[in-house]
């Protein structure tokens, strides 16, 4: 097999594949409908920031100060109007029924204890929703610690909330000052879409052809299986880049999230990621016997790769072993690079580690495929 023949064969298969793709309605559906749906979800719907939180107040003090504290918590904007309750039993009950996520208990001696120093309130939270519970407890704690228990001059009361204490903590959130989840989700969106595209389309396509019999026809051609597989993958690299550009520009135009770093780094790191993802698709197609099997294997590879890679949940907070398993998914490294380039303005130097990791994963996958892949009929 001389080298020029090899590449012309690959290109011939690629050309055929591109022609087939254009008429594949299911494929076009995936490429068009999915990005739009995900853009809406990631950009407008999903958020970890508590909102519309139902809560209840058990005010045993019934003093002007306690009412002011409730008002001040209410004014933070995270909460709905509080439900008034009259006993601990009722507090437990509304929490159990999910009618409240938090119950603020103000003791009867609240107003009196102000005279003596720091008054105390109790906060019961519903631990069954731990993320919301932790954040709500944090918000209420911050509001309460900055709460002016005595009616001072209004200017002081409405000053910026500052933690009273011996050390003045000045915090800043870089790259995302309002700490909006939208940026967190959107910047990794391209990774999710490309994973979906590369895996499902290759795995399904190759097995599908084997089922219909067109794969056998191609094996009968004077092309080697390697040439066929490579040729089938070339158009998807093109489609992947188109999808990347679409997602990045759409996130920029609609949500104002333009990449802060180097476009070149973005384009460079995408290549090994797409190749590795395509290789996984090829591997699945070599393992699966029917397209139904290919679907199941693909879907249940995509699921953990979304969950463990850090696109939806921060991987830094996962337990040790789980974090390392997540590093075996290409999406982990790609999302690290995406967040770097899009949010933190990273350039080529910063994405070197992800690029190397992705290239290593790709090389490993190629070895596995060579070992597993034999030309198979029927």
């Amino acid at each position: 097999m001389s080298r020029p023949r090899f590449w012309s064969n690959v290109l011939a298969v690629a050309y055929r594949e591109a022609l087939v793709l254009r008429h594949d309605r299911a494929f076009i559906g995936v490429v068009v409908a999915q990005p739009i749906m995900m853009l809406v979800l990631m950009g407008m719907v999903l958020s970890n920031k508590p909102a519309n939180v139902p809560w209840a107040v058990l005010d045993r003090s019934e003093s002007p100060v306690s009412r002011r504290l409730v008002e001040e918590i209410q004014a933070s904007g995270y909460f709905r109007a509080p439900r008034t309750i009259h006993g601990y039993e009722e507090a437990r009950e509304v929490l159990r029924r999910g009618q409240a996520l938090a119950v603020l208990v103000v003791p009867d001696e609240f107003a009196r204890r102000i005279e003596r120093g720091r008054p105390r309130v109790q906060l019961l939270i519903d631990g069954s929703d731990p993320l919301s519970a932790a954040r709500i407890a944090g918000y209420i704690g911050q509001i309460a610690s900055a709460f002016a228990t005595r009616d001072g001059p209004p200017a002081v009361r409405h000053a910026a909330p500052r933690l009273p204490g011996a050390i003045d903590v000045r915090q800043r959130f870089w790259f995302n000052p309002t700490l909006s989840d939208r940026k967190f989700f959107l910047s990794a969106l391209a990774g999710m879409l490309l994973t979906n595209l590369c895996l499902s389309v290759t795995a399904l396509g190759l097995v599908g052809e084997r089922e219909v019999g067109t794969y056998e026809q191609m094996l009968a051609l004077p092309t080697t299986p390697l040439e066929i597989v490579l040729g089938k993958l070339v158009p998807f690299v093109g489609v992947s880049y188109a999808l990347l550009l679409f997602t990045t520009v759409a996130a920029g135009v609609i949500f104002g999230l333009w990449p802060q770093g180097s476009w070149l780094a973005l384009l460079v790191v995408t290549l090994p990621f797409v190749l590795a993802s395509l290789a996984i698709g090829v591997f699945v197609s070599a393992v699966a016997r029917t397209s139904a099997q290919a679907v199941f294997i693909t879907v249940f590879f995509i699921m953990p790769s979304f969950v463990l890679s850090g696109v939806l949940f921060p991987y830094q907070l996962m337990p040790r072993g789980v974090r390392e398993i997540g590093a075996l998914f290409p999406l982990r490294w790609y999302q690290i690079a995406l967040r770097g380039v899009i949010e933190r303005g990273a350039g080529m130097v910063e994405v070197l580690v992800p690029v190397a990791a992705l290239a290593a994963l790709f090389a490993g996958l190629l070895l596995v495929i060579r070992w597993r892949m034999k030309p198979r009929l029927g």
Binding site: A144, F147, L163, V169, A292, F296, Q316, G340
Partner: protein, 369 residues
């Protein structure tokens, strides 16, 4: 409807399902895999997070502050000699949080006047991480500061909040995700399996053969759904046991009630799968429909992201998904020991969804005949 015909059809379905070792594997492996993957990912606290430290003060007090931050394994401090090196590490993503201690830290701490200003910088791009770390870092610094100066808080400001979490005292993410994973598996896997199996039967022609037998569409429907329903009821029990043994999460509520509700919910998902398959020409199309549908199902049902945080219009849409209601019920039983009476509204909605979807599935089967 004839009991004998139904029995024959049921035996046919059971054999067809069990004959295929791949499907049998999927039915056991996927629920367990999902349980383990999802069980570990939701963290409300911070452990061993790399924290950049630029200590311009370099005094005993500043070293004590850093030591306190590292003390209980919350943060792993990494020292940076210059502010520029620290900034670079933040940009490259090597650290996600950093603390800068000013040169006059010790002096300001012990003299009166303004308290020393410690700067804390987060990588806001990692929004969840930063949100979690913020609360921890603040309270740790405040506590250390109070210890260093032995000074109480100024009078006239501040209310102390004593927080107690019910049902899950340590705010562990696992029970929340485990109870949600039942919703994920019973919505997604069920729908996908039915969709694929029926389309495959249609392509091989055995479905047409079924329809020319005297069996009615109700009988075919029941024969298709009952064996899978039984398999998934078994899956529910299996998942409960594995979640208990491996993740240490046992249901607080009645197990029997949970299995009954879950089995009922499986029927709804299976009916949905039937509708997808009956309206698709090829297996690929049925799969596309299921997968496309599963995106909002997973993201909008409250499985990982709370419905109440969404904009109003999307909240209404989420209420239309049966999965939203099932996940709510599952969490209530699993975590808060809720009984049938407390869950009456949610169960009513689920029942309504079931009647509508099963009715639709029967209609589509008849239309095909």
């Amino acid at each position: 409807m004839s009991a004998r015909r139904l029995w024959t059809l049921l035996r046919r379905e059971v054999r067809a399902t069990l004959r295929d070792p791949f499907t049998a594997t999927i039915l056991v492996a996927v629920p367990l895999l999902a349980l383990l993957a999802f069980g570990f990912v939701l963290a409300t606290d911070v452990k061993h997070l790399a924290l950049g430290v630029h200590d311009a003060s370099g005094t005993a007090a500043s070293r004590r502050l850093v030591a306190e931050l590292a003390a209980n394994g919350t943060f792993d401090p990494r020292r940076f000699a210059t502010r520029a090196a620290l900034d670079r590490a933040l940009v490259s993503g090597a650290i996600s949080a950093a603390i800068v201690i000013p040169p006059d830290f010790d002096r300001a701490l012990h003299q009166g006047g303004d308290p020393p200003a410690v700067q804390v910088i987060y990588d806001g791009g990692e929004a969840v991480l930063a949100g979690n770390a913020e609360a921890f870092l603040r309270s740790l610094i405040a506590a250390t500061g109070a210890g260093l100066t032995e000074a109480g808080s100024p009078r006239g400001a501040g209310v102390e909040v004593v927080t107690r979490a019910l049902f899950n005292a340590r705010l562990d993410g696992k029970p929340f995700m485990v109870a949600g994973t039942f919703g994920f598996v019973l919505s997604f896997l069920t729908t996908l399996i039915t969709a694929v199996s029926i389309v495959n039967e249609r392509m091989t022609g055995t479905f047409d053969q079924l329809q020319v037998t005297p069996a009615t569409s109700l009988e075919i429907f029941l024969a298709k759904i009952l064996p899978l329903g039984a398999v998934f009821a078994f899956d529910v029990v299996l998942m409960v046991v594995v979640a208990g043994l491996v993740l240490g999460v046992w249901p607080h509520g009645s197990l029997l009630f949970f299995v009954v509700v879950s089995s009922g919910y499986v029927l709804i998902s299976l009916a949905l799968g039937l509708i997808f398959s009956a309206t698709s020409a090829t297996a690929a199309e049925a799969v596309q429909k299921t997968v496309l549908f599963s995106i909002p199902l997973v993201q909008m049902s409250g499985f990982a992201f709370a419905v109440r945080n969404m904009p109003t219009a999307f909240r209404w849409f989420a209420e239309l998904l049966p999965a939203t209601h099932y996940i709510r019920v599952s969490r209530a039983i699993y975590l808060r020991d809720a009984g049938p009476l407390e869950l009456l509204p949610e169960l009513g909605v689920l029942l309504l969804c079931g009647v509508v979807l099963i009715g639709l599935a029967l209609r589509t089967l008849e239309a095909r005949a």
